[in-house]
C-alpha cells in the first residue's frame, strides 16, 4: 500500500485519491457476467478448490487461498487477487480487505526469502533489536531478502530468534549472520544446529531414561 501523502499537520494532500479511478465501476467478480476471466495456474486453482471443499462456507478458504497465491506470485499482487477472486467467485476488493489485515500477507513486492526477526519483549530483552539491525544491514540491498521485524513468534526460549522462510532458528548472535545469509542464498538448511525443531524441552523432569535421547542439543548456556 503506498502511503497517502499528508501535510505535516496530518491532513491529506488534495489529489490523494487520484490513483483510484472514481469514475470507474467497482471491480466485479472476474469471469462472471461477461467480465474477462484471468488465467489461473492449474495447481493454484486445484489447491483453492480443495480447500473450499473443506468448509461449510467456502469463504473460509480465503486465508489459505491467499497464502497459496502468495506462494505462486511472491506477494498478494493485483493479479494474484484477481485469480483467487475468479476461483472463489468473490470480488478482488473483498480479498484486498483481508490481505491488508494480516502481517504474513504481503501487499507490496518483497524479496523471495523472508527473514522475520522477532523483536517483541522477550527477544528484545535478549538483544533482538540489535540483531535485527545487523541482519538488515548485512542483507543490504540484496532484493532476494525480505528482512523485517516481527511481533512475538512464540519462540522466546530461543531468544533472540528469527523465522527464515518459516524455519525457526535461535538463539542467534551477530556471528551467525554471515552463515545464515549464505545458507539462504545456497538453498541449504539454515543454521541446522540452531533450528528449533531439534531442541529438547527445557524441563529436566520431562524426559526419562526410557528411550535414547537425541545427541546433546539439550543444554543451553546463560540467557
Amino acid at each position: 500500500m503506498s502511503a497517502i501523502p499528508r501535510y505535516a499537520h496530518g491532513s491529506r494532500v488534495p489529489g490523494w485519491d487520484m490513483p483510484a479511478d472514481l469514475d470507474k465501476d467497482p471491480a466485479t467478480i472476474p469471469g462472471v457476467g461477461g467480465s474477462p476471466s484471468p488465467e489461473v495456474p492449474e495447481g493454484l486453482r486445484k489447491e483453492i478448490e480443495e480447500r473450499m471443499a473443506l468448509y461449510p462456507d467456502p469463504r473460509s478458504a480465503i486465508l489459505p487461498a491467499l497464502e497459496a497465491a502468495q506462494r505462486v506470485h511472491g506477494w498478494c499482487s493485483p493479479d494474484a487477487l484477481e485469480q483467487v477472486a475468479c476461483v472463489m467467485r468473490l470480488t478482488p476488493a473483498e480479498l484486498a480487505a483481508v490481505a491488508t489485515f494480516y502481517d504474513m500477507l504481503e501487499t507490496t513486492p518483497v524479496g523471495r526469502h523472508s527473514v522475520y526477526v522477532c523483536t517483541n519483549i522477550s527477544c528484545s530483552l535478549c538483544g533482538a533489536d540489535e540483531l535485527h539491525a545487523a541482519i538488515r544491514d548485512a542483507a543490504g540491498d540484496d532484493d532476494e531478502f525480505n528482512v523485517r521485524p516481527f511481533e512475538c513468534l512464540g519462540a522466546c526460549d530461543i531468544a533472540p530468534m528469527a523465522s527464515v522462510d518459516g524455519v525457526y532458528v535461535g538463539p542467534l548472535t551477530a556471528d551467525d549472520i554471515p552463515q545464515l545469509l549464505d545458507d539462504i542464498r545456497a538453498g541449504r538448511p539454515v543454521l541446522p544446529d540452531k533450528q528449533l525443531a531439534r531442541r529438547l524441552v527445557a524441563d529436566p523432569r520431562a524426559n526419562g531414561s526410557e528411550f535414547p535421547l537425541h545427541p546433546a542439543e539439550h543444554e543451553r548456556g546463560g540467557a
Partner: protein, 466 residues
C-alpha cells in the same frame, strides 16, 4: 505471601516433581506419529470416553476443575455445558493462535505430541455432541501445522476421526486451518471471523460463541493445552485430577518462562507452587549477579510484579488477589539492568501494532500511550504526563469489544504505578540532556551538571538521586 498450599519442589529430579501429564517423555523419537503414541497408551482415553454417555463425560470434566489454559481461565466443563443440546450444527474450534508475547507452550505440545491434542478434541467433541472441529493455528507455526496435518491424516486413517469414530456412530471432521499473522485472531470472536475468511475483528458479546459462534452455530472454543489435558483427565478420572494443584486451580500447567533467566523454556508445574520455584528453581533465575526487577506472570498482558512478589503461589486465584493474572502461563523476567521505560514501550508498541482498530479507546489509547512514552524518552514530557497516561489506561479498560486494549492498559498502568520514581528520573534525565545542547548531551556533560549518568542498559538503573 499467604500460605503456599503446595510444598516446594526444589528437587528437580524426576522422582521429586509433580506427575508429568503433558510433557512426559515428550522428546521420545516418533511421538508425533501414531504408532509410538498408541504404544504409550494413546487413544485409550477416547475409547474409554466413547463407552460413557456424553453426560457422564461432562461430569468428569466438571469434576476435574480444569480451567482454560489460554488466558481467561474459564472452567472448561462449564463451558462445554453452555452449548445447547440437540441435533444441530455445532462446532469445536481449537485456539492454536498462540500469539501472546512470552507464550510458547502450545508450540511444543503441537510439534511433539499432536495426537494428544487430536484425542482431546475427539473427546470434547463427543461430550458436546459436536461433529465438526477446526484447529486454528497461527501461520508462523509452519513446522507445527505440518506435523498436525500429518497427524490428522493418520488419525483419520485409523478411524479416530471421521465418519464413524471407532465404530461408535459418532461423526467428527477435523480441519487444520492456518492463520496469517494477527494477534487479535487469538481473541475468540476475532478468531471466528478470521476462520470465516474475514478480517479478524472481534464481535460484540453476548451472544457468546457457545450460543452463536462459527457460522452462527454454537461453538466450543478451547486452547491447545486445555484440550491436550483432556485425555489425562479421562484416563485418571476427574476427581483424581482435581487432587493435583490447589482447590480453585487444579492440575498441572505448562509454564513458558523467558527473558532474563538462565534456563528459559517450558516447564510442567503443579499449580500453586511458589513463583520463586519457577523463576529461580526451574529456570535458574537471572544471570549471576543480577536481580529480578519485574516479571510478567501471564504473558505481556498481565500487570507486572516485582522481585518482592516471588513468593506468591502460582495459581489463578493467588495471582488475581495480587492484582495480576495467570493468563496463558507465560513468565517474562526483566532484570535490574533493564530500563523500565524500554519494557513499557515494547509492550505498548506491540498492542498498537496489533489493535484491529475497531474500537476507539483501544485504537487511539494504544497509539497515544506509545507517543507519550516516546515523549518521556525524548525529554519532552513532564510528570503530569504520567498522570495523563495512567488515566488513558483507565479509560481503555472495559470500554471495548474485546480485551486487547485492556491487555495493554493493565501492564502499562501497573508499570506507571509501581515504577513511577524511575520513570520520573528517566524523564528528568532526558529533559536535562535535551536542554543542555538541544540534541543530546553526553553522560559526562550531564555528570558535570550533577546528573547521575546512566545510559540505557549500561548500568543499574534504579531511582536517581538528585
Amino acid at each position: 505471601m499467604a500460605r503456599a498450599a503446595k510444598t516446594a519442589t526444589t528437587d528437580s529430579t524426576r522422582a521429586g516433581g509433580p506427575p508429568m501429564l503433558l510433557l512426559r517423555d515428550i522428546d521420545e523419537p516418533g511421538l508425533n506419529t501414531l504408532p509410538v503414541y498408541e504404544r504409550r497408551g494413546g487413544y485409550k482415553s477416547l475409547r474409554k470416553a466413547l463407552a460413557m454417555t456424553p453426560q457422564q463425560l461432562l461430569e468428569q470434566l466438571k469434576a476435574s476443575g480444569l480451567r482454560g489454559r489460554g488466558g481467561a481461565g474459564f472452567a472448561m466443563g462449564t463451558k462445554v455445558s453452555f452449548l445447547p443440546q440437540g441435533d444441530m450444527d455445532k462446532y469445536l474450534v481449537c485456539n492454536a493462535d498462540e500469539s501472546e508475547p512470552g507464550t510458547f507452550k502450545d508450540r511444543e505440545l503441537m510439534q511433539k505430541t499432536p495426537h494428544a491434542l487430536i484425542e482431546g478434541i475427539a473427546i470434547a467433541a463427543y461430550a458436546a455432541g459436536i461433529t465438526q472441529a477446526f484447529i486454528y493455528i497461527r501461520g508462523e507455526y509452519v513446522l507445527q501445522a505440518d506435523v498436525l496435518d500429518a497427524a490428522v491424516r493418520e488419525a483419520r486413517e485409523a478411524g479416530y476421526v471421521g465418519e464413524n469414530v471407532l465404530g461408535s456412530g459418532h461423526r467428527l471432521s477435523l480441519v487444520v486451518h492456518r492463520g496469517a499473522g494477527a494477534y487479535i485472531c487469538g481473541e475468540e470472536t476475532g478468531l471466528l471471523d478470521s476462520l470465516e475468511g474475514k478480517r479478524g475483528n472481534p464481535r460484540l458479546k453476548p451472544p457468546f460463541p457457545a450460543i452463536q459462534g462459527l457460522y452462527q452455530g454454537p461453538t466450543l472454543i478451547n486452547n491447545v493445552e486445555t484440550l491436550a489435558t483432556v485425555p489425562s483427565i479421562v484416563a485418571m478420572g476427574g476427581a483424581e485430577y482435581a487432587k493435583l494443584g490447589v482447590a480453585t486451580s487444579t492440575g498441572t500447567k505448562v509454564v513458558s518462562i523467558s527473558g532474563h533467566v538462565q534456563k528459559p523454556g517450558n516447564y510442567e508445574i503443579e499449580l500453586g507452587i511458589p513463583s520463586r520455584e519457577i523463576v529461580h528453581g526451574l529456570a535458574g533465575g537471572p544471570p549471576d549477579g543480577r536481580k529480578v526487577k519485574c516479571w510478567f506472570p501471564g504473558g505481556s498482558s498481565s500487570p507486572v510484579l516485582t522481585g518482592d512478589d516471588l513468593d506468591i503461589p502460582y495459581d489463578f486465584d493467588s495471582l488475581a488477589k495480587a492484582g495480576t493474572m495467570l493468563g496463558s502461563g507465560a513468565i517474562i523476567v526483566a532484570d535490574d539492568q533493564t530500563p523500565i521505560l524500554d519494557v513499557a514501550l515494547k509492550v505498548a508498541k506491540f498492542y498498537r501494532h496489533e489493535s484491529c482498530g475497531k474500537c476507539t479507546p483501544c485504537r487511539e489509547g494504544t497509539n497515544w500511550t506509545v507517543e507519550m512514552l516516546e515523549r518521556i524518552d525524548a525529554g519532552e514530557a513532564t510528570p503530569m504526563d504520567l498522570d495523563i497516561m495512567a488515566s488513558v489506561q483507565e479509560h481503555i479498560i472495559g470500554n471495548c469489544l474485546c480485551v486487547l486494549g485492556d491487555a495493554m492498559a493493565m501492564p502499562i498502568g501497573s508499570i506507571v504505578a509501581k515504577f513511577r520514581p524511575e520513570l520520573e528520573a528517566h524523564m528528568e534525565r532526558a529533559r536535562l540532556r535535551r536542554g543542555l545542547n538541544g540534541a543530546g548531551a553526553s553522560d559526562a556533560a550531564l555528570a558535570a551538571q550533577g546528573v547521575v549518568a546512566a545510559g540505557a542498559g549500561t548500568g543499574p538503573y534504579p531511582e536517581a538521586h538528585h
